[in-house]
């Protein structure tokens, strides 16, 4: 079946609403407007205003209400337009959703799913372009997902709804129009394991021309593109899509690094204190003696994302920067 990331998301929502009547969608402009990124277009007509619930501009209020509804036995899916606006709800997400189970000594779990857009690349300026999912991955008690493929867009929501704890799903804005084939019977997907999206075939020019590219979400297509081009240069890569930033599946990463002996982490967040810093540290802690080269990282420059196209492009990871880092890692940069 031919579909887009946006439609796959919508199919996942529809499916969840049909399967469990406790599931409802709530957020700004999810109903009448059709969703700010058109993910929920048509669902109001299908499910009605009780279950496709438009909220006023009050992120802290409606996210908190979602947490309360989850405590009350519902299965809320709360949409926040972008991660930038989720900062207004940070208190509810961190001080309540992530914390209640522990503070209550295991009595109150919070089965909420919060979806939001993340990422840059559309010239929207700093207040609409940041990648803060790595921040959320810092918080114990949250599960952080980043669907990068149609199958994950389609299937992660249902798995997330089975989780008794709060799950945040980050959808990169540049992925919504991504089109491709999806199995007709595509369903729930694993959210515990990272996925190996490309496997090194052992065809490197010399011994040592293999490496592991690690990424997630919006940068996966770029990394796969870089991997293709690197193959043309005789550099053979594993590409790992983390899919879940917390809890992190370090095993898949470490297994790969044990075979390739080199790693490049690609993350649209800033380098300092980022999820890429965590991955790099895990590799250094747990696979140091497997490494033949320092771990490389390709991140956004440490600057609020600018509006102008040429500046924005220069600030973000690119195929060129990924390839340059890969060449450095295999010592092929001269």
């Amino acid at each position: 079946m031919k579909t887009t990331y946006r439609e796959a998301m919508r199919a996942g929502l529809r499916d969840a609403m049909q399967r469990d009547e406790r599931v409802f969608l709530m957020g700004e402009d999810v109903g009448r407007y059709g969703g700010s990124f058109a993910v929920s277009l048509g669902l109001l007509e299908e499910f009605g205003p009780e279950r496709i619930r438009d909220t006023p501009l009050s992120e802290s209020g409606f996210v908190g209400a979602g947490i309360g509804a989850a405590l009350g036995g519902m299965r809320p899916v709360v949409e926040i337009m972008t991660v930038n606006f989720s900062l207004l709800a940070l208190d509810q997400i961190i001080n309540n959703a992530a914390t209640l189970l522990h503070m209550s000594g295991g009595q109150f779990n919070v089965p909420i799913v919060i979806r939001m857009t993340t990422g840059a690349g559309r010239q929207l300026g700093a207040q609409h372009s940041h990648s803060l999912e790595g921040w959320y991955a810092h918080i114990p008690g949250l599960r952080i997902l980043a669907p990068a493929t149609l199958a994950d867009a389609r299937g992660m929501l249902w798995t997330a709804l089975q989780d008794p704890d709060p799950v945040l799903i980050f959808e990169h804005g540049s992925l919504y129009n991504m089109a491709g084939e999806l199995d007709d019977d595509a369903g729930a997907v694993d959210i515990d394991k990272a996925a190996v999206r490309r496997q090194a075939d052992g065809q490197g020019h010399r011994n040592g021309d293999t490496l592991t590219l690690i990424t997630y979400g919006g940068t996966l297509p770029m990394v796969l593109d870089a991997a293709d081009q690197l193959a043309g240069e005789g550099i053979d890569t594993d590409v790992i899509d983390l899919r879940t930033l917390r809890p992190l599946d370090a095993h898949t990463v470490l297994d790969s690094v044990a075979r390739t002996h080199r790693a490049v982490v690609v993350d649209e967040g800033w380098r300092s204190g980022s999820i890429s810093a965590e991955i790099s540290a895990r590799i250094c802690e747990q696979a140091f003696f497997d490494l033949d080269a320092p771990v490389e990282r390709v991140c956004s420059l440490e600057v609020p994302i600018p509006y102008a196209k040429h500046l924005e492009e220069a600030a973000l990871p690119s195929v060129e920067r990924v390839m340059a880092a890969a060449r450095r890692a295999v010592g092929a940069d001269g």
């Binding site: 402009d29 407007y33 609409h128 420059l301 509006y307």
Partner: protein, 354 residues
């Protein structure tokens, strides 16, 4: 008194000036739409067409050292505050000549010279800033006023309520101008507020608040003048709910599924520009030549601005990481992280990052 409702034009020259101001905003915005369609400018674009009387009426009452805070629908506010159309358009082109050197874009116009503090794309994000600017004036003993523009959608945010309370509690010199255009993206006021009378809500915080016809520039100006005078003379925060309407979609991406075309057409009959124009004509104060001259003047201002933007230069990529931290005079112009992306660029040269 000097309201359009009374069909009285107290001062023809001044009325002509207001008409010009509104037309400048209208033409700038029409040009923005054209340039957006031609892919000259990008990102999110929110135009103010239909709401011009609000900015035109309020700005008229401010002194040069007063402060203005606005939202992402702020091209008109910037222009009427005194930022040149050229600097605004160059910003949307992403050029170095833009008022934010290409970093802000349409939603983030700023200008220190005119004390224009944005350009804020977070709904209600400007309100606490306005409270703080006013607090600074109060603490420094200055007689300045801070004006904060925001949409009625912002009224649902906690920051609105927190700001009202602080401003009233501390009796700060700030004028809140709620541009009530009835829709927050696709959400109609009646579906977002349990109490849709916004002036009443502000009054609940002990703030002097009243609602004004936001299509009538003379009424807006009169109300704003009264409020600004009161704020300036120590009367504490004031609040205007300006009832207006946006004739265009929320942004260039909005399919407008949430409202009837007929409703838009009905509101367009109260176009603030035609309204003033009509009254002036009826009073014999706007001869055809005068109107033609006005349009020609404004068109030429905007086309000069487009030329300026078009001939601008891209901000050099080598400057990308500037303005993350302030330039430090003692180390010869600290430029933050430096220009080269790889390897790690995060160690500041001057240690200024702390």
């Amino acid at each position: 008194m000097s309201s359009l409702r009374n069909q009285g034009i107290p001062d023809a020259e001044h009325a002509l000036h207001l008409l010009r101001q509104m037309l400048r905003v209208r033409r700038l915005e029409e040009k923005c739409i054209e340039l957006y369609s031609a892919a000259k400018i990008r990102g999110f674009l929110h135009v103010y067409i239909g709401e011009e009387a609000v900015a035109a009426g309020v700005m008229e009452t401010l002194a040069p050292d007063d402060a203005v805070v606005a939202t992402y629908r702020e091209h008109g506010h910037a222009l009427l505050r005194g930022v040149s159309a050229g600097a605004i358009l160059a910003e949307m082109y992403g050029h170095a000549e833009g008022c934010c050197r290409g970093r802000g874009g349409s939603m983030h116009l700023f200008d220190a010279a005119t004390r224009f503090y944005g350009g804020n794309a977070i709904v209600a994000g400007g309100l606490p800033l306005a409270v703080g600017l006013a607090l600074a004036d109060r603490m420094a003993g200055r007689q300045r006023v801070t004006v904060c523009f925001f949409g009625e959608g912002a009224v649902a945010e906690g920051e609105f309520h927190e700001s009202m309370n602080l401003a009233a509690l501390w009796q700060l010199p700030v004028l809140f101008c709620c541009e009530n255009n009835l829709y927050a993206m696709g959400t109609a006021l009646g579906r977002s507020e349990s109490q849709p009378d916004i002036a009443l809500k502000a009054a609940g915080y002990e703030i002097s608040a009243w609602a004004v016809d936001g299509m009538d520039v003379l009424a807006v100006e009169e109300a704003a003048r009264r409020a600004v005078d009161a704020v300036r003379s120590g009367g504490g925060p004031h609040f205007l709910e300006l009832r207006t309407y946006r004739f265009r979609a929320h942004s260039m991406f909005d399919p407008e599924l949430y409202r009837e075309k007929s409703e838009v057409v009905r509101w367009m009959e109260r176009d603030p520009i035609s309204l003033l124009q009509g009254v002036m004509q009826a009073a014999g104060e706007l001869p055809a030549e005068e109107w033609d001259r006005l349009k020609a003047d404004v068109d030429s201002e905007i086309s000069t601005a487009v030329g300026f933007a078009e001939n601008g230069t891209p901000e050099p990529v080598s400057e990308l990481t500037r303005f993350v931290y302030s330039d430090r005079p003692d180390d010869g112009g600290y430029t933050g992280a430096g220009g080269t992306p790889e390897p790690d660029t995060t160690a500041g040269k001057g240690g200024a990052a702390g």
